[in-house]
Symmetry: D2
Subunit: 135 residues, 4 copies
Amino acid sequence: MKVKTTIKVRGYHLDMYGHVNNARYLEFLEEGRWQWFEKVGAFENVVKEGLGFSVVNINIDYRRPAFQGEALEIQTELISTGNKSAVIHQLVLLEGSDKVVADANVTFVIVSLKTGRPVELTQKLLDDFGLKVDG
Amino acid sequence: MKVKTTIKVRGYHLDMYGHVNNARYLEFLEEGRWQWFEKVGAFENVVKEGLGFSVVNINIDYRRPAFQGEALEIQTELISTGNKSAVIHQLVLLEGSDKVVADANVTFVIVSLKTGRPVELTQKLLDDFGLKVDG
Amino acid sequence: MKVKTTIKVRGYHLDMYGHVNNARYLEFLEEGRWQWFEKVGAFENVVKEGLGFSVVNINIDYRRPAFQGEALEIQTELISTGNKSAVIHQLVLLEGSDKVVADANVTFVIVSLKTGRPVELTQKLLDDFGLKVDG
Amino acid sequence: MKVKTTIKVRGYHLDMYGHVNNARYLEFLEEGRWQWFEKVGAFENVVKEGLGFSVVNINIDYRRPAFQGEALEIQTELISTGNKSAVIHQLVLLEGSDKVVADANVTFVIVSLKTGRPVELTQKLLDDFGLKVDG
């Protein structure tokens, strides 16, 4: 499932160059993942089980600056799952176009909040949390 | 006791106008209060007692924009204590000058982390936490 | 005109106490003012005239902590205009309730981007920019 | 040249899990790069030439959560230069230890501020801007 989030670029998102600061994109991506979590229903279930999502890597390409007043569309999608970690791909487009502003792979693990250690991503766990790669 | 904190203005602090964004000053002020807490020794003692600081009002004047590369000096000082709340004054100067960039009064209460309710600021509590107004 | 903005509280808005950090509210308020600007049509016209909005004071009361997953409604309204400055009132409610999370008065001036100096808020200028207090 | 920057973790750096939020690290890294620019002397010279630094990729590993009160040491170093882009490596350590909190490769180009296009990283340009990889 691909979830779309719209964010309008405001003055407080910009930096000295008049475009969205590179750190701010990570908040835009996190907003996208929260909306994805809500759609997938994963977050509440993960918390209920005493687990939490933990980001272990973000690899982000900045392709085109974004300016005040532009609307950005963030597309968030689970693209792969492994034994211990899974990868969400996030694409930031200029809304209503195919112009890519940024895109990122976000690798996460699911940790036990008690031990702080990652748990194995068994098929049952992935099913329970709706973590399904389209294919 | 007046505690001085220096922060150098960087590109990521600015907004579309090329000067420090108004929200960012509140992080600068919070940094100043953390350094004040460390000097006063209040924070650890407050936590030990199951209490926490909670800001209830910030009244900030923005007097002069600050630009990339400028060094700001934040002066943080407790200026009054009441029955339930106390006030910290914070002055943001262009370092090495008397040019005022911003100044703020920050009113806080001390809350019980168990109940979430403010506690009375008795003289004993103020003494224990080093919350002393210079006179 | 009162403009309403909804923001959902996310993990990245919180601080060590698990509630929205006091600096973050100023970004929420700025988001509210941008949406108000858009409705009023003021921003583009102000820029066209070589002018800009500049915040000179924010006085914010923090009344109730806001937590992850809560939806906040920000109500933004011009409440008074003077010779040199004007005041916007912003109310942050727990959406769908009358519980006040925060409220603030934001005083601004309109500056000439050429000189950096505030201009007089003549009736013509207020009319041109749609800066009208409801009565 | 490796430049070291110290940042103390404060309450406003944390998120819902009580550790430094992943977006905030990008501000820590940017702070490290500003201090590196200052040491290398690159920034002012680049601006004088009508050029600017532009980040095109950040690849960051989050290895260990950082908590309120911990001091982080950010080590910033240019590690490679190519025809069009160069790479800065940034290591975030728990200060006074060899515990790695995060580490990142930051790939940047130098753009003409007039055209917005990257310029070729000639040896003369690298020499002029002090962009030298230790060998």
